[in-house]
């Protein structure tokens, strides 16, 4: 929200004592975050009021005119392109050497004629966006006067972070900001001049059908409005705070919204005779002021006359009751609508307006009538002959009253070490609008309604007021007291960290972070259809992942552009069967021809991880996998009979996706299952005192035989001397596949004799031959 300091000054007594460039640092520290402080109009120099005393068309140019302009002392030749030039017009002249919007004006030739200065348009002065003609000032404007002495062109414009005003409906207008500035700088707030309404005419016909959604509706009709011209200073103000000037009636409603925070609306009185606030009919359409056709819902609150819609309550008015050039009587609305309802409508229509933004904050209904009286006061200044055509009609079924909060002195002590005296409490709270009654052990505090609609209802809320105005920077840090409370123990986080650190250290994996949804492009390219939980608001990348490894493929693909081999891991959430699941995924991607090595490495990672972290030997078994994995080489990882994860190779389509001649292996471990596995106690095997012998055998099989088959047979050979059996190598020779295995044999009670060894060897060879296998050398 933009705030004009010129405007604030009008509400604060002795405002000249305040440094309006610096006060915003304090405001940030005590009230709300200021994002920007900008000086406006300080880049104009030597811009004075001047009158056109002679005006001739340029002999060759249709657009240009040759002017003589007087600043009261001297006349200047000016070549000007504006269409509204005429003798007698008083405008803004920049003399040679002067500046507008930071640009220096020099003497120069324009289409053959010397121009000694410039007559300025609104936009050139930086006070508007109008470039249709030069600025026109009142006929009685004195000449040769600095424009900035007559109008509030030099200003300080402050941008306050809207987010930090969410809980402060009272700060959505300049007057509320001024109140806050007064409180933090110890100044006094001026009362706003208003027009008192006698209410000796007739009431308007105003009905509220939905009192829960429309808490209060004030309306009045005003006639005989001849002047619809907004004063220049108000136009400058509106422009500086980001609004366009339209005409006096509309500008005044906007001005009041910017001043008090109360959105208002002016209807053409010829169209709007009576008001009924009610809900729309589902799917009705309605054209708003911005010329857009809107589709309404059955919970959209509307301003109507019973038959026709006149506006979407709290959001935007309608085109058919808009103020026209010939409008001279208006119906002024100042109402209070339910925050939630307005918010819902604004979101549904995709139409967040200045009005809806304010209503969403829960405005104080008690300022509705004040806003009308204030508007009437300002309107009368420009239209002294205006007449009221109705009573100020006020439908307010359940007025809100000021509430009292009791703040015990002891409660303050529970929150902070600062000792607040009664005087400090009063000095802080009263300028903010609270009434404080001091009791021996408590303060009875009356909360102004503009703070009570949502912000302040509890003692803790008052403590916040005290501490923030007192100053957070005055609080002294104090270490937590060492209460001896046994802490609860959860170890998911620690385990995640340890596993990731181990994997990064031992296997050179890089931890990545990815998104919880699938990339739609990925699914499309791979022709994968995923039925899973979806995001409501997005149409792309909107399906939540149920397979962490699959979701990582785009990252694998991108990295393969820079590295021949990619080794990544993530512990991340997937959504499966409507539940959160945490999974560890490791992806190793490499060139096709090194797949065996990579696969072995992946398997080694799985086995080592479980061995080191859990002292458990995992097993791998066949299983079924989604179609984007290779069905032959993928395996389930088992701890006992429990499946804890998968070791997989992606399908050829996926591999083509990640890169030409690339292939990826995925390890996926259900991390919660992993956490549930108890670490097995380690029992240290005694080292044999007697020597052991290592015996290598190469067993020849046919090409289809897997190691698994050989292993089964080998496990059938039992002998008390066997200490260990391990796989050494495999190679293919002609029609045969040869496995080299190694036995470590020995005894715990003696050194084996060569006879005993020979006996072992013979037994083994016989066993192998019995199983239709052959030992080769």
């Amino acid at each position: 929200m933009l705030i004009s300091c010129n405007r604030l000054k009008k509400y604060i007594k002795n405002s000249e004592d305040i440094d309006f460039e610096k006060v915003w640092q304090t405001f940030t520290m005590k009230t709300a975050e200021v994002e920007n402080v900008t000086l406006k109009g300080y880049d104009n120099k030597d811009v004075v009021t001047a009158k056109i005393v002679e005006c001739k068309p340029h002999p060759e140019s249709k657009k240009l005119s040759l002017l003589k302009v007087s600043d009261g002392e001297k006349e200047y030749d000016i070549v000007c392109g504006a269409p509204n030039v005429r003798v007698g017009l008083i405008g803004a002249l920049v003399r040679v050497g002067g500046m507008v919007s930071g640009m220096e004006i020099k003497e120069r030739r324009l289409a053959g004629y010397l121009s000694c200065g410039m007559m300025c348009a609104w936009d050139e002065l930086g006070i508007g966006d109008d470039h249709s003609g030069i600025l026109e000032l009142n006929e009685d404007t004195p000449l040769g006067v600095e424009l900035s002495d007559l109008y509030p062109i030099k200003d300080i414009i402050v941008e306050i972070d809207n987010k930090s005003l969410t809980n402060r409906p009272d700060l959505w207008g300049h007057y509320g900001i001024a109140r806050e500035i007064c409180a933090i700088t110890n100044h006094e707030l001026n009362e706003l001049p208003i027009l008192e309404v006698e209410n000796n005419l007739e009431d308007l016909d105003i009905k509220i059908e939905e009192p829960k959604l429309c808490r209060r509706y004030c309306g009045i009709k005003v006639k005989n409005l001849k002047n619809n011209q907004t004063p220049i200073d108000m136009q400058i103000f509106l422009n500086y705070v980001g609004m366009r000037s339209i005409n006096l009636f509309v500008d005044l409603t906007n001005f009041l919204m910017l001043e008090l925070g109360q959105p208002m609306h002016a209807f053409d009185e010829r169209v709007v005779k009576n008001i009924q606030v009610r809900l729309a009919k589902e799917n009705d359409t309605y054209k708003t002021l911005d010329q857009t056709e809107r589709t309404l819902k059955k919970d959209t609150l509307m301003i109507t006359n019973g038959q026709n819609y006149f506006g979407i309550a709290g959001v935007m008015g309608g085109l058919d009751s808009e103020i026209l050039d010939d409008t001279d009587s208006i119906f002024i609305e100042s109402a209070n609508f339910n925050a939630g309802s307005i918010r819902k409508t604004a979101i549904a229509l995709g139409l967040r307006t200045e009005a809806s933004a304010r209503y969403e904050k829960s405005l104080d209904p008690n300022m509705c009538d004040l806003a009308i009286k204030r508007l009437l006061y300002l309107l009368k200044k420009e239209n002294p002959n205006m007449t009221l055509a109705s009573n100020l009609t006020d439908i307010y079924p359940e007025p809100i009253v000021e509430k009292e909060v009791i703040l015990k002195k002891e409660t303050i002590k529970r929150y902070t070490n600062i000792s607040f005296s009664d005087t400090i409490v009063k000095n802080i709270l009263e300028p903010l609008g609270f009434k404080v009654s001091v009791k021996s052990d408590a303060y009875h505090i009356t909360v102004p309604t503009y703070r009570a609609t949502k912000d302040i209802s509890l003692d803790a809320d008052i403590i916040e007021e005290l501490v923030r105005i007192y100053g957070f920077d005055k609080l002294k840090e104090e270490p937590l007291q060492g209460t001896i409370t046994p802490n609860v123990f959860e170890n998911i986080w620690d385990n995640e960290y340890h596993v990731k650190r181990y994997l990064a250290n031992a296997f050179n994996l890089h931890e990545i972070h990815s998104y919880i949804w699938y990339e739609t492009d990925l699914l499309n390219k791979l022709g994968i259809i995923k039925e899973n939980v979806k995001l409501l608001s997005s149409s792309k990348n909107n399906i939540l992942r149920d397979d962490l490894s699959l979701s990582l493929l785009p990252i694998v693909k991108n990295n393969l552009k820079n590295y021949p081999q990619v080794d990544i891991m993530e512990i991340g959430t997937i959504i499966k069967d409507n539940q959160n699941e945490k999974h560890l995924s490791i992806i190793k991607a490499c060139d096709e021809d090194t797949i065996f090595k990579t696969y072995q490495e992946a398997k080694r990672i799985v086995i080592t991880l479980f061995k080191v972290m859990k002292n458990i030997q995992v097993k791998f078994i066949k299983g079924t996998f989604p179609s984007y994995y290779d069905p032959n080489k993928s395996q389930k990882i088992m701890v006992g009979n429990k499946e804890v994860g998968e070791l997989k190779i992606f399908s050829s389509k996926c591999n083509q996706y990640i890169g030409k001649k690339k292939i990826a292996v995925a390890i996926d471990i259900n991390f919660m299952e992993y956490l549930n596995i108890k670490k097995q106690n380690k029992v240290i095997k005694e080292i044999s005192k007697y020597p052991v012998v290592s015996l290598d055998y190469t067993i020849s099989t046919n090409l289809n035989t897997l190691y698994e088959d050989i292993e089964k047979i080998l496990h059938g050979f039992t002998n008390s001397y066997i200490k260990e059996l391990s796989f050494i190598d495999v190679f293919t020779k002609g029609e045969n596949k040869n496995y080299t295995i190694r036995y470590i044999v020995g005894s715990d009670s003696k050194t084996l004799t060569s006879e005993e060894l020979e006996k072992f060897k013979n037994k083994f060879i016989k066993y192998i031959e019995k199983n239709d296998l052959k030992i080769v050398s």
Partner: protein, 335 residues
């Protein structure tokens, strides 16, 4: 004779200079001083010499023999000190290490400080229900606070959590008071992504509930965390904030370390980074989770871990963090 011996010595030195293996040295030795060597022939020839010659050549030959043997033994003992290897020790080596994500590293540092202060580290879930993400945090249905964080609602009626604050509620429900917990995790906001905005980022939640927990305690905890993570004096400011689940609420800002407080895109040109929002736990929040606000007070805070990591490592573009780009990630080798 003299010449012959000198020449012999020269030859030995020459041959020894080129060899490095023990066997080669022994071969040379046997060639020059072995039984069938020339030198041995000279020695044997001594006995046939005249006494005069014997007197001259005897000592000479013996001295030279000693000299020769010294030569061989020196060479051999030199040889024993080396591993006798043959490679270029000046070749460079390639370093390959894995890496941890910068957010993981920073989260570890933060949880370590908090753990030392007695905090338990919890883990929440990313797909959360409305009650824990909003309702139980004093954020009713039509509260504009729900605007502040554009929420990813899901078609199963749940949502992707917008803040780790829901873990406060889980912790209170599970453990009641007193309580001292923190919970790092990932949160989601429906935002357009640019250099300083992400829709997926990390926070850590902290909560302490006990009798007589004060605002001052909270400041102390927050400052300790920042000092530990940045290992330097960081410039801090505390200003009012607004969160429905804390009252009073604060924002702790840190002077932007990327631009040194001058203003840059990361700090939105303000020179300050909003880093730790927090406050005293709202009495309604305590009540809703069954804790008596008359007996207990508490504070809660959230730290933007992603932002903290960006500040710590001077990462100027938030998009790197979820890019999975190893060129970026490999900077963060494990300490």
């Amino acid at each position: 004779m003299q010449e012959k011996i000198n020449e012999l010595l020269k030859n030995v030195e020459k041959e020894l200079a080129t060899v490095t293996k023990e066997a080669d040295i022994l071969n040379i030795k046997s060639k020059y001083v072995g039984k069938k060597s020339e030198f041995n022939n000279l020695l044997s020839s001594l006995k046939d010499m005249s006494n005069e010659d014997k007197k001259i050549y005897g000592p000479l030959l013996n001295a030279k023999k000693k000299e020769l043997e010294q030569l061989f033994s020196d060479k051999l003992s030199n040889l024993n000190n080396t591993a006798n290897l043959d490679f270029d020790e000046t070749l460079p080596v390639k370093i390959t290490t894995g890496s941890l994500h910068p957010v993981t590293i920073v989260a570890k540092e933060v949880t370590d400080v908090l753990k030392r202060m007695g905090f338990t580290v919890l883990s929440g879930v990313e797909m959360e229900d409305d009650y824990h993400n909003f309702e139980a945090l004093n954020i009713p249905k039509d509260h504009p606070a729900r605007d502040m964080q554009d929420t990813y609602y899901l078609d199963n009626g749940l949502l992707l959590r917008t803040q780790t604050s829901g873990d406060q509620v889980h912790a209170m429900e599970k453990y009641q008071a007193p309580l001292k917990i923190c919970s790092p995790g990932r949160v989601f906001r429906n935002e357009d992504i640019d250099a300083s905005h992400e829709n997926t980022f990390f926070q850590i939640e902290g909560m302490v509930i006990d009798e007589n927990v004060k605002i001052e305690n909270m400041f102390s905890v927050m400052k300790s965390v920042l000092e530990e993570v940045f290992k330097q004096d960081v410039k801090i400011r505390v200003r009012p904030g607004f969160f429905p689940f804390t009252e009073p609420s604060f924002e702790m800002d840190m002077s932007c370390l990327i631009c040194g407080g001058k203003g840059c895109p990361t700090c939105k040109n303000s020179g300050w980074i909003e880093l730790i929002p927090g406050g005293m736990v709202h009495p309604n929040v305590l009540k809703m989770s069954g804790i008596d606000p008359q007996k207990y007070t508490g504070f809660a805070f959230g730290i933007g871990l992603t932002r903290l990591a960006m500040m710590k490592y001077k990462i100027s573009d938030i998009r790197y963090l979820n890019s999975g780009d190893i060129r970026f990630l490999e900077n963060f080798e494990i300490e």
